[in-house]
Every structure is written in C-alpha cells, then in structure tokens.
Symmetry: C2
Subunit: 479 residues, 2 copies
C-alpha cells in the first residue's frame, strides 16, 4: 500500500490549507499545468474534457431557447472600446494591447477582447434595420483576456475560455425576460448537471457589469465557506444601443433603439466544481459531467478469465451509454484505486478471481466509498442506478453544506462576529446605499454577493447603518 | 417573380467574374460579414453552423484515432518563438505583437499565436519524461492570427478558426505514420463529407512548413481551375525536440529525443466548399455538411390543410433524423425558393392544395433542380434517398470537373501553353531542384501544389529544364 499512500499524501489536506489543497488537486488530477506564459495555463486532457462536457450541455440548452452561434474578431480597435463610457472605464485597465502587426506599428492599437459587447454592438448596428431582424440571439464560444495581477488555475487567469451570449430585442421587457431566462438556464445547469446549488439574485449597482443597467448572478458556496460567482446575465437596456446607434424601424415606421443583454459562463465553473465536491483524496466529479463515469479495475488481472470478464463489463457499460474505461495497465490495484479517487471518477468496479467465481463485482462510489456487490449480468443497470443516486446525493450534500453555512445577522455585532468566526453566506438586511456597502467591506470584511430573488424580511433596518432596510442581501467572502 | 429574380441577380455570374461571384455568395448566403476590425470577419450563424458541423465530424474522427483535446495559451513570448530558427523566420514577419498589459508595458513582448508548435514544445518539455508518457496525441480548437496584407472571406483573414494537432512519439517511424494517418483522415473527410475530391501528396522543400522535415498536403481544385491547399500534416522529425530539449528515458534507460508532428484544417475549407460546389444561384451544400438539409415550402399556405400537412412533413423528416425546417413566413413561395437556392439547402419540398389532394409533394434537388413527386406517407425515406444520391453525385461531379481540368505537359512549350490557356492542374515531371521551381513560377506562372502519392512517369526529363526528372508534380495557380 506504500504507493497509493504516496499519491494521496501528495495532496495537502483541506483543513490544513484549502488553497494549497486546491492547487495540489488541480495539478495531481492532471487538469492543468503552468506555462512559460505568465498567468496563462495549459488545460490538459482531463480538464479540457470537463470543459467539453460543459460546452455540450450548455450549448444544447442554449439552442433549445433559439440561440445561434457566431464568431466575432479577437481584436477590438481602441476607438470602438471607448464608445460606451462606463464600459471602457471598467475594462481598459486590464486589457492587453496589440501595437504591431508583423514588422509595422499599427495606426490604431487593438485590444485583445476582454468581452465582446462593443464588437457585437458594432456588428448589430450594421445588421439590424427593421423589427423583422429582431430578436438577435447570438452566442460565441471563445477565449478572452484580462490582465490580472494575481492568478489561480481556473479561478483567475489572464486568458480563460467562456461563452458570451449577446442579444438585441425590440422591447425592454423582452430584454429583461431573456436576461432572467439565461440566468435560470445557468442555475438549472449548475444544479442538474454539476450538482452545485446556487443562489439566484441581482448584483448591487456597485458590483454590476461595466455598462449594464442590471446584472443578475448565480452564487455558489465553496467547501471553505467562500462564495464563487458562477455565471452572470446582464440587461443593458438601450445604453449601448444609444452609444452605438443601433436602431430599427418598428412596425409603425418610427426608428427605435434596441434593448440588449449579455450573459456568460466560463472555465471558472470548473474551479467551483473542484471546491464544492472535492475531498482529501482528490477530485469528486458528479456523474453527469464526468468524462469517465466508471472505471473497471481488475484485481489479480493475470488470473484466468479476469481480464476477459473485465472487458465484458466495460463493453456492457458502454453499450448502456455509460462512459466507461478499463484500467488494464500493470500498476497495482491499490495504485489504480488511488488514481481513480484522485481523478474523481464517480465509480470504480473491482473484480478479481473470487468475484468472477461468484459471478459478481464490487461497485465503489467515489463520493462516500459505499460498496455494492452487484451480479455481473445486471451490472449496467445497477451502475446506472448508483450513478443516478450519486448525482442526487451530491447535490443534496452540497445543498446541506451550503445551508448549514448560511447564517443570518440582524445586528452589526452579530454581523461582525459571524463574518469573523463562521465562513459562509450571511443573510442580512441592507439600506441600499453604496457608502454603507463600502463600509461593510472595509469594517466587516464581506461583500454583497447578491440581492436574492427569494426575499425575506429579517428586520426593518440595515444590519450595518441602522437606516430603513430596502432589501435582503447575501454577504460573503468571494473568490 | 420580380422578387426572386432580384435575389439571384444580386450575385455576379461565375463566368463573368469568379472573385466577385464568390464575395457575393459569401455575403448573400449570410455566411460572413465585414467588421470595423480590418482584415477580420464576423462568421454569421449560417457560416458558423457549417464550421460546427465540420468540427463535429473531424473531432469524432480524431478521437477514434486516440486524439485528446487540450487548450494552450493564446500568447507566445518572443524568446519562445525564436527557439527554432526556421520556424521564427517563417512566422515572425506576420505575427501581431502584444506590448502592453493593462496600463503597463510588458517586459517581454508576446505574439498572438500564428500556430502553436513552440507552445506545445515548451509544454512537452515539462510533461514528457519517460517512454511511458508517449505518445502524446493532442489537439486544440482555437483561433490563430497572421497579419496578412490582403484578405478574403474564409480564404485569407488576419484571424481564422482552425484545429491544430501536435503529437510527440518515441520513434521517427511512428511520427511518420501519424503524419500520413492524419493526412488521410483529412482527405477522407473532404471526400466523404464535403464531397470535395483531393490530391494527396508531399510539398516540395520550398513549400513546406517552417521548421518541418516534410509537409504533406491535400489539394482541391476549385470551379475556376485554381487550387486550394485544404489541409496539411507535418513531420518535424526531432528538430523541434532538439531546439526545446524534449527528451524521454527509453526502456533501455537512455535519453532520446521525441519525434513530432502537427496537422491542421481551418475555416478556409469553407471557402473551398463554396468554390467547388456553388453555382450562379448561390451556395450548393453537400447534404452531409448542410446545417439544414431540407426545407418545406408550402404553396398557397393559407389554403385549408396546407400548413398542417407541411408541419407534418417537417416532423416526419426530423423524426427520421433529417435536419429539416419549415418556411412559414409570409414571403412568396418564389422568394422562398430563391432563398433556399442562395443558401444551398440541399432539397426543398414544395406542397400546395393540389399536392395535398393527391397526397403528394414535390422534392427539388438544389444541385441539378431535379424534381421528384413523392407520396407524403413515404416522404422521409424518399428524401433520405435523394439526399444520399445527391451527396454521391456531388462528389462525382466535382471529380469529373477536377479530372477534366487536369492536364499533362511534357515539353516546356506545352507547359507554358497549358498554363496560359487552361485553368486547372498540370501534371508534369520535375528535376527536384529549387532554382527550377522558382523559375517555373516566374516564367510559367504556376507553383508546385504537391508531389502526389500516386506517382506516374510522363517522361524522363524535367518539363522545364530538361535535366533528369525526379518526380511527378501537380502544378497550378493557387488561392
């Protein structure tokens, strides 16, 4: 057992140092590697396969709502970026600038897109003429660049992969409906596929996207009690339309400005997946997103019939639509078990000569190590059942963890004490004023995560300043 | 009929001006739009859907050969780009340079990847230690940037989408086998899916990729007799491995250099698709790659029962796995026919009150306008048959066109005359010397497209210089 001990011991325990645990898991589960390009990462096959599954699921859900995919340029001319005042202020400090093409300096420098609102607006201004051209519900899958000072794998890097949807509508109401629709799509995806429960809500004015009228967000709680903004959906009203002159001739023959939205989810969510479900043995992947859902690990694989039966099992699983592999390398079974755990493969199927004799195999769940002895002839159905149960259990466990780390505070003292002592969400009332929000950050050390759609009234006054309360807020420390 | 005439008349005829015809089709079929970013395009939904289908098919074929997808950074530090001498010479003149991150100048400038050999080498140098780590068969889907002076939609733009595979192998033989395997994969994909016949062969030393030992290519002939390099596969030998110190400990415990390959196909192939199959009414898409394969167009759609039956037909087609749409807009049927033709939708299904009465519909092929009267109750099966036949016919027609525009030349006079008068491929013997190749370009106006795998011996001497011939070459004018 020396070897498998070594593999597990190679990661720091979560309790000891959560940040180091995270970095260790990302590296040992072979999701990511560092590169010679400061702040940029290599996404390795195991990490990229997760992103492919996320893309596949999201893209399917997008298209069911009428989204069409397009591709716009990587570069934004400086003059275009500057057209919307709030937007440029928000992004200009963190963009990368191209100043030379080939051997010659450019006449106008280009930034590498940090997000593509300005490009979509420029495109829509040419492409939209009449009410018949609306709505436009476009999306692109691409990478974007933001020149961050400190970076962490998946969570914050100078380049990351994402999708960005950009829509244009005839009315304000339609734009608002699309904004909420996409937020709910993200939330359902997180809960149903990633087993990550989220709080749906609205960002405060201070926290909203540069140039947006309203930003909606889904917020997830990580194992260490910190929050992760996991997807956002913005309603721009007609602000960008006015800056970029995007008008359409309505049925009544008058020119009107369009109303726009944008919404995005990125590889950041993989960081969330790791920090919500992982444990001290490594990654734990919900079955619905796992690139490999089951690995068959023969024990005493050279014994007569073992390997043949293991192959049969793998085939039966694949036949039933389960993403299954067989580990037939010459490593020890214990080492293979450790690897399966490190990589977060949802179940392993152990089978040796004795099992073979009894016509059975042992299915071991990654999340709780529960073992089930299963008759080989009914293995595919049983494994599918176990995967389904595991998927549900993981969501429930994450929800229970989130709920047991969600606190309420009515007084400033409670607020301070909870923030200091109990990592998690704090629900508390807020007066709605920006100065108060900033003072909370300064004094209490937490920020507004969102004003949840599900409002409650905990008290009549702001938890911090005592003025009349306007809204319930989820506060927390965030990644 | 005034309107549909207008739509067709809005494109220039091929005979009159092929280049203008191409630009018109790209624009009117709504594949692409120009942008404020010079030399960069917007790929619109109809264009991007083609790329998605290409990606889907290629990715599936890649994975069947063991390819794993990854993602490497967008940026390459200048020092990294310079590590392989030939490579930097080939690419440095046409890269875009990032010199500032946020508000500060960078210590070392970064180029936006024109291709990622250097990044993969840097990654492999860290990731490969032992023979157990080999082979690495990685691929990425991304965009790349080359600062072209003159650009054309799909064919040559400053940014384009592609996939780039990068592999590392223990032996030279394995690398060569992978190089050829991927070239054949591209060729099969072009012929089976895009209905584009290709010549498989090797590039001359002059035309090979910067840093490669050998470059293999597939060359297709466009409708106007010009050639399009449609996919390439490179064998690097151990040249990059030596420049980047990529070594592995072999079974015999000695350190050895890996052998590498790379291979790519890009959105350029969509340009090929247009120029091989298109006609004076617009795009013609082979059924296997068409985002919409069949469009149902009701005639007198307000007549009783017509729209209901049209919906039924659409459902039956979708049920059978055919990508079908119903055009139920209030445009005239003639206008809808023109649109279907412009967009290259493989078949349209016309159905009016009289057809309804007779329980039939008319299926019209896009490529040859052939009409088939089909019983509605067996429509899905019949449409599938027609699509299958059309796919085969399109490949055969393209092959016949290619063959009838492939000429041979034995003497310099023949060579010159053919090049001047007959657009197409010219097969002719070559001495293998670079000076001769350059003189042919200068004097005859054609370049070497490839030395085909299927060699023939047309004569003993070089068509140009009369020295002993080494190889048969396909010559042509290229995009």
């Amino acid at each position: 057992m020396a070897k498998e001990k070594k593999l597990v011991e190679s990661i720091t325990s979560m309790e000891e140092d959560f940040a180091q645990w995270y970095t260790d898991v990302v590296k040992k589960a072979e999701l990511i590697d560092y590169t010679s390009v400061k702040g940029c990462m290599v996404i390795k096959p195991a990490g990229y396969a997760l992103w492919e599954n996320i893309q596949h699921e999201l893209d399917k859900r997008f298209k069911e709502t009428g989204v069409e995919n397009v591709y716009l340029p990587l570069f934004i001319p400086e003059s275009l970026l500057q057209k919307e005042k709030d937007h440029v202020e928000g992004f200009a400090p963190e963009v990368a600038w191209v100043t030379h093409g080939g051997l010659e300096p450019l006449q106008e420098r280009l930034c590498v897109r940090p997000t593509s609102e300005t490009l979509f607006c420029d495109f829509y201004a040419n492409d939209i003429h009449s009410y018949r051209d609306l709505p436009k519900v476009y999306n692109q899958w691409c990478s974007v660049v933001r020149w961050e000072k400190t970076t962490r794998p998946f969570l914050r890097s100078r380049e990351f992969l994402w999708q960005e949807g950009h829509t244009a509508h005839a009315t304000a109401q339609e734009a608002e409906e699309r904004t909420i629709q996409m937020l709910n799509l993200y939330a359902d995806f997180c809960e149903e596929v990633l087993a990550i429960p989220v709080i749906r809500g609205k960002k405060t004015d201070k926290e909203k996207f540069a140039g947006a009228e309203a930003t909606y967000t889904i917020e997830a709680l990580m194992h260490d009690g910190k929050a992760l903004q996991s997807g956002t959906s913005h309603n721009f009203g007609d602000g960008f339309a006015k800056a970029f002159e995007i008008q359409y001739a309505d049925k009544d023959n008058t020119l009107k400005y369009v109303h726009q939205t944008s919404w995005g989810m990125s590889t950041r969510i993989i960081g969330g997946l790791i920090m919500v479900h992982g444990d001290d043995s490594g990654l734990v992947l919900p079955p619905r997103i796992a690139p490999v859902q089951a690995v068959v690990i023969p024990v005493r694989q050279k014994a007569e019939g073992v390997m043949e039966k293991a192959q049969e099992i793998r085939s039966a699983l694949i036949q039933a639509g389960i993403r299954a592999k067989l580990d037939d390398t010459d490593k020890s079974p214990g080492w293979k078990f450790s690897e399966q755990e490190m990589r977060g493969i949802p179940v392993r199927i152990e089978m040796g000569p004795k099992d073979l004799e009894a016509g059975q195999a042992v299915v071991v769940r990654r999340d709780n190590r529960e073992k089930t002895v299963v008759q080989i002839q009914e293995i595919a159905g049983k494994v599918q059942e176990i995967l389904d149960t595991m998927q549900k259990d993981m969501l429930e466990r994450a929800r229970a963890h989130r709920d047991s780390h969600t606190y309420t505070a009515v007084t400033k003292e409670e607020f301070k004490k909870t923030a200091d002592e109990k990592p998690g969400f704090i629900k508390a009332m807020w007066c709605g004023c920006r100065e108060c929000e900033e003072a909370v950050k300064e004094e209490i050390g937490v920020t507004t995560r969102c004003m949840p759609f599900n409002q409650e009234k905990l008290s009549d006054t702001c938890v911090f300043c005592g003025k009349p309360a306007k809204t319930l807020v989820y506060w927390g420390k965030a990644y």
